[in-house]
């Protein structure tokens, strides 16, 4: 076999490279579902980041000369009962929701993943103890539990985030545990032990990479849940407090105005929630189709 007869596709170790990023972008562009999710996310993240720079109106600034202004070039989303610019409040809400979403996903995935990994690898009473605890959390409807936790800890965005994280941990833990049980029975795990690898290095190198797809899919789904739950907690007054421009709380404020025809006060934050959750769920669904090895 001479060198010119064989052109072997080289695959190097996973690393974030320029080529890798462009390949990922090309993949997204060619997949309609991912493209929609991606564009929605770009829109919301763009507004959250660039809004303050380009628009620059204080979302808390009252203007009693322009109370309940309908959407116009001056106020693209109108103003509320206190004359606050709803567009400024919309992108500020995006900042809050996306931040809480990311924080909830990171902590939920790390903590829940760790619980699932330890339970799955340990087995025995450790497994029973951890998983029955997870079952206990799952026994409550997630929103009811989140409300109970925020009431216990005191209403606010931070406590709402903690409550959301607690309710998502069991989801990660269960999925990761079942994945670990599948992977640990694979011969390459036995092979790793047979070359003398110790337990934790073996887990890090040969088990953790195999649970990443599951973790990623669940993280994407939980991102949508986190935004929705934050809005729900804000809506019932347990999350962000007035006058914080949080989408759920904004809907509460806009509720009575909708009856008097000022629909824009409540509708735009609702649209924000819709877009963010749609993007997260589309991404999660598509990622599940693409990554789930059990579906093959």
């Amino acid at each position: 076999m001479s060198a010119q007869t064989t052109i072997i596709k080289r695959t190097a170790r996973p690393r974030i490279t320029f080529e890798g990023v462009t390949a990922a972008l090309r993949f997204i562009l060619l997949d309609p579902t991912l493209l929609i999710a991606f564009l929605l996310m770009v829109l919301l993240v763009g507004l959250a980041l660039l809004g303050p720079l380009l628009w620059g109106i204080d979302p808390l600034k009252l203007d009693f000369g322009a109370v309940f202004a309908a959407p116009s070039p001056q106020h693209p989303m109108g103003t509320d009962s206190l004359g606050r610019d709803i567009f400024a409040r919309f992108y500020s809400g995006a900042q809050i929701s996306l931040t809480v979403g990311v924080v909830a996903v990171v902590f939920g995935a790390v903590l829940g993943g760790a619980v699932g990994l330890i339970a799955g690898m340990s087995g025995g009473w450790v497994d029973v103890l951890l998983m029955r605890t997870m079952d206990a959390i799952l026994a409550f409807p997630p929103l009811v539990l989140a409300m109970a936790i925020t009431i216990g800890l005191g209403a606010g965005i931070e406590t709402a985030a903690i409550a959301i994280i607690v309710t998502t941990i069991p989801w990660y833990a269960r999925l990761v545990r079942s994945d670990v049980l599948r992977v640990r029975s694979m011969p390459f795990i036995e092979a790793a032990v047979a070359i003398g690898m110790a337990r934790w290095p073996m887990i890090r190198r040969h088990v953790v990479p195999h649970i990443m797809p599951t973790l990623l899919i669940q993280a994407a789904a939980s991102f949508g849940y986190a935004i929705l739950a934050l809005a729900a907690l804000g809506f019932v007054g347990l999350g962000a407090q007035i006058p914080t421009p949080e989408w759920g709380a904004m809907i509460t404020e806009g509720l009575s105005d909708a009856l008097t025809g000022r629909w824009w006060v409540g509708v735009f934050p609702g649209v924000g929630i819709l877009l963010a959750v749609t993007a997260a769920n589309l991404f999660a669904d598509r990622a599940r189709d693409l990554l789930d090895i059990r579906a093959e």
Binding site: M1, A3, T6, I8, K9, R10, T11, A12, R13, M186, P187, F188, E190, A191, A192, V193, A194, I195, G196, M197, A198, R205, H206, P209, H210
Partner: protein
């Protein structure tokens, strides 16, 4: 129940020992117990494994982890699943090297991995090293599995059905590769297989396993010419042979191996044995270990059968000389 009972043998430096037996005879359980890899709730209840004056059964788990891979390496049956699909083969070989020699730099380990791939005759090793397992064929993957086992020059390799998952032409190539590699290194091999053809080509001595015991130990020549234990004979008869096809269907061994939970009092093979079925001594007394020729057999008829075969062996030896 006990999957392996009273098995005792030794392997000398550079020796190639074959262990044959049908499914469930305890071959793999034997291999895993040598490395102390029996998964709970299974356990090794007793016995000793001596490697260069150390009893492995008495080592601490940490010391045992050091033995695995550097002193005894295991070659797995199915190369499709013995390699981690998310790591390049190079990374997996490097991992095996650096596990036992952390002082070796990544660069050196990589060069060594390329050498190992060349040793097991993977073409274009310096490019293939960055491939993932799914990019390789079964034969190539099994070579990688062998390369990983050879990574630390272990004095003993245990190959558990190393070619069962491969097609016949690939089997022969992989066995050649394995043979050359262990001969260069002077490593001893315990080859576990149910394929007697492989044993004849590859091994210096053969052990026939039945219901957790070694029922016959012999050189391949003696075993193939004049099997002593009726089970060995029945195994040899059930090898497909074009000449025998004309004489009717391939003989099989009637019945099934005994349940290990409920072993007969006498010889474990007695209910299936063409010679001993119903014979009182076979039924009631476990056969002793009888030294026969250069080996041993566990059969009440061993001495008679050895004497019966005497003429056959002499003729065969005469044939060899002429």
């Amino acid at each position: 129940m006990r999957a392996v009972r009273g098995v005792s043998f030794e392997v000398r430096r550079g020796e190639k020992v074959g262990i044959v037996g049908e499914s469930g005879s305890g071959k793999s359980a034997l291999a895993l117990s040598i490395l102390r890899l029996i998964a709970p709730p299974g356990e090794v209840v007793g016995g000793q494994v001596w490697l260069n004056d150390r009893d492995l059964m008495r080592l601490r788990e940490r010391e045992m982890a050091h033995v695995r891979g550097s002193e005894i390496a295991l070659i797995f049956q199915d190369p499709m699943t013995a390699l981690d699909p998310v790591m390049t083969i190079g990374a997996q070989i490097v991992e095996s090297i650096r596990k036992h020699r952390p002082d070796v730099s990544r660069k050196e380990a990589r060069d060594r991995a390329i050498e190992l791939l060349r040793d097991v005759e993977v073409p274009l090793a310096e490019r293939r090293i960055d491939d993932y397992p799914h990019q390789l064929s079964g034969g190539m993957r099994q070579r990688v599995v062998i390369a990983i086992a050879l990574a630390n020059d272990p004095p003993l390799l245990i190959a558990d059905e190393p070619t069962t998952a491969l097609d016949v032409t690939t089997q022969a190539q992989v066995l050649d590769v394995l043979e050359r590699a262990v001969e260069e290194r002077g490593a001893a091999v315990i080859l576990i297989t149910h394929n007697l053809g492989i044993v004849a080509d590859f091994c210096d001595s053969v052990k026939v396993m039945y219901a957790g015991r070694l029922v016959e130990q012999a050189t391949p020549t003696d075993l193939f010419r004049s099997p002593i234990h009726p089970y060995s004979e029945a195994l040899l008869r059930s090898i497909p042979d074009p000449a025998r096809l004309e004489q009717g269907p391939l003989p099989t061994i009637p019945g099934a191996p005994p349940s290990l939970a409920n072993l007969p009092a006498g010889c474990a093979f007695e209910p299936r044995c063409p010679l001993g079925r119903g014979v009182a001594i076979c039924k009631n007394t476990a056969p002793p270990v009888i030294p026969i020729g250069q080996g041993v057999a566990e059969c009440h008829f061993a001495e008679e059968r050895w004497a019966d075969n005497e003429t056959m062996r002499k003729e065969a030896a005469a044939d060899d000389r002429s």
